[in-house]
């Protein structure tokens, strides 16, 4: 077996172990959380009942049907077996396969997050570069104030203000619960703007450092054009930018609950939160599994991106490693 294959195998083993441990921990923790999914599922009758016998029977029956009385480890093994057959179980609440439920919401989430990431990148790189070039001038200070301002306003305030402006005042935006391109722009822009300050900051500080490097000075001394200098510097700082964008995309996929809820955008973040509140174990578990997979996939992409962008990582001794 060649060295390269060996490293691929070890990488695969590592990924497998991560998946296994992460889902196991999630499994244990969600089961430890107070609350009983079956009680929530059965619902409390609006009119309280005197005869609790039938309720108890039904309750026991469902607990057995969902194997909730088995030990957590047994339940976990059963779940894992299903996962290997590409089956994440059925939601307690809707009886639909979790994989379908998540699959239905995933396009909406991607539709929301991918343009938001593009906006974030545009704003981040654009304003970051301007801010660095005009270091300590008025425009730089304005951009920095803007970042601080954005990071001190709660997300719900920004979202509600925009929603009020566009839906009620300007009547340009429709408040409904559907996924359509006409309904996309507002949540996307909001999400993109809210998440941009971190990137602006990273770009600015990296760019400043890059502009302070000797080779930049040499380039300028040799009469290289301004655009080319910026491009070169930008290329050199692609690494941290990409890393940050990749990681923030994970946050945007799973964590834009407030945006999804205020704009009634049927994405997976809100769905996961609702399922957590309902103790819909299979859905929470499926969501955790999906997120882990996304994280691993994004990490892989970032690693590949590193190799593409940074020639240093192409040295032979590096080549065999995918890094951590």
């Amino acid at each position: 077996m060649s060295l390269r294959n060996k490293s691929i195998v070890s990488k695969l083993v590592e990924t497998g172990v991560t998946l296994l441990l992460a889902t196991l921990v999630l499994f244990i923790i969600i089961n430890l959380a107070p609350g009983d999914p079956i009680r929530i599922l059965l619902g409390t009758p609006e009119v309280a009942s005197v005869n609790n016998q039938v309720y108890q029977e039904k309750y026991q029956e469902l607990r057995e049907a969902y194997h909730l009385d088995d030990s957590i480890l047994v339940q976990y093994v059963a779940w894992m077996k299903n996962v290997l057959r590409f089956n994440l179980g059925d939601s307690f609440y809707t009886n639909q396969p979790v994989i379908i439920e998540l699959g239905k919401r995933m396009p909406a989430t991607l539709l929301l997050t991918i343009p938001a990431i593009i906006i974030q990148l545009t704003l981040g790189i654009g304003l970051g570069i301007i801010s660095a070039l005009k270091h300590n001038k008025t425009i730089d200070n304005l951009i920095r104030l803007f970042c601080v301002f954005l990071s001190s306003l709660p997300g719900f305030a920004i979202s509600l203000m925009l929603l009020y402006l566009f839906a009620v005042r300007l009547k340009l935006y429709e408040i409904s619960h559907t996924v359509s391109l006409m309904r996309l722009y507002l949540p996307t822009i909001t999400l993109g703007i809210i998440s941009s300050p971190a990137l602006i900051r990273v770009v600015r500080s990296n760019m400043l450092e890059e502009l302070g490097k000797q080779y930049t000075a040499f380039a300028i001394a040799r009469g290289v054009k301004k655009r080319a200098v910026i491009r070169g510097a930008l290329k050199n700082i692609m690494l941290p930018i990409m890393t940050l964008a990749a990681h923030s995309s994970v946050n945007l996929i799973g964590g834009s609950v407030i945006i999804e809820s205020i704009f009634s955008w049927p994405g997976i973040g809100k769905y996961a939160l609702d399922s957590i509140l309902l103790r819909d174990y299979p859905v929470v578990q499926g969501y955790g599994f999906l997120m882990i997979c996304i994280v691993i996939a994004i990490n892989l992409l970032v690693e590949l991106g590193y190799i593409f962008i940074d020639p240093r990582l192409k040295r032979p001794e590096r080549k065999i490693r995918w890094g951590g």
Partner: protein, 526 residues
Amino acid sequence: MKILNSYSIKQLRFWLLLMIIGLILCLAGCTGQNSMVNDNTLEDTTNKNTELVLVEREISSNYDPNFYPGSNHYIKNGSAEALFKVDEQGVVQPSLAKGFERIDKHTWHILLRPEAKFWSGVKIDSEAVIASLERSRASNIRALPMLEGLTFTPLEEWRIKVDTERSNLFVPLNLSYMELCIINADKSHDSVETMDMSGMYKVVEFEPKKSMILEINDNYYGEKPNIERIIHEAISDQETRSLAVLSQRADIAMQISNESIAQLKMDENVILYSAPASNTGTIYLNLRKAKFEDIRVRQALAWGLDREELVLLGSEGLSTPTSTWLSSNPKYKDQRTKIYSHYDFDKAEDLLEAAGWVKRDDGMRYKDDNLLHIKLMTWGQDKALGETIQNQWSKLGISVEVQYGDYSLIMTAREEGEWDASIEAWTTFGDEYALLSTQFSPEGSGNYGGFNNSQINNMLEELKNAETEQRKVEIATQIDSLAAELAPSIYMYPRVETTAVNKRLKGFQVHFRQFENAINNQLRFE
């Protein structure tokens, strides 16, 4: 020169291209999925004679109305009907059934409409109705209390005999319950195609928990509605729901939060319908705790609540105070100020003193060196109420700890007995015996504190066997008053339910049971 590596610029372009391709693929994927969703964009708002948009916090989670939340949302949007309905005065009226006859104190007859049909055209005869009710009994735990002790037998094609275990049970009231909509039990109810119900609208598109589109049911037996399509959507965020009416995209928005009302009132295109619901916001006391054994402590807590202020701070002044449990039911509204007629701080202090809880220098009350401490559990959405109670009781020298939680947290605390007081609002509309026994009989499921009083138990038994309606009301009133006096729990005010309706929509009916009132066949746009 390193920075002028043209290769790297190509790399940049490559990434940019990759992103754009990803975006395009994603958009394409989603527009594909969109075709099933009604893409009614903004132009539709100009042509509203054909379409009504109804939004509320949540909609059905399942095609099968017997799954919670299901049935009441189907009744709300006009796609399903129960045999009877309660009108806004609280009187039971025929709905899917034509009428009822009381044969004797254990037997009722229900008369069906020969012209009534399910969406599919299948007739709704005795067999079909019984099959549906039995299906609910088997699969819907929330329907159980209403079906307890009822036996259904088909007498004729359009006549059902109902035998009751209990005497003098008003069966039509039970059958008007929101979980008991009549559906075709032969169908599987697991997709739009296999749904078969009886309402004036039928479901044509449905994404569980998100949105539902309904169109007029041509097989409907009664007067057909004016509006061709109903779009029923879930908008979970309460501020967004208010904005949905303000933007005039939604024609009816339900469960409007009390806090949004001030803003909605200012808009001339919106009409608000607020009605105190028939439920009573109650502070249940955990009677298993020693400190609540003394009736004087419980009464002091009841006297020491300024209900007017609670209404103002807890419901934005929209509700009306109630001092007994039944008094939020329109029938018993005279009970409202019967026991704890006013806020009496001094009386509360005296009662606490008499019970041996003495104020010390720190302003707190102690008895045998034990601090009078109350752990009050309340829902995350009832925070204002919790803080107001805390403030009022603190003035009496009681140390109050308020704990918010979601459903599970509160349920767990109740099961483990780790609470002193807990807020809940049960419905007070229905059969008096059933209602009161859930609250005050030792095995009632709404009796969290473990209240057990032999006098009340006897009176409940008497209520169960009461012959006439008048006698029923009499005993119920007595139980209600006595219970308030014994104070196993403390009554505050009914929750307020507000619906915001677009001004152009005419024919909306206010109702104290919200699920009965959203869509009716008189609705039309002007």
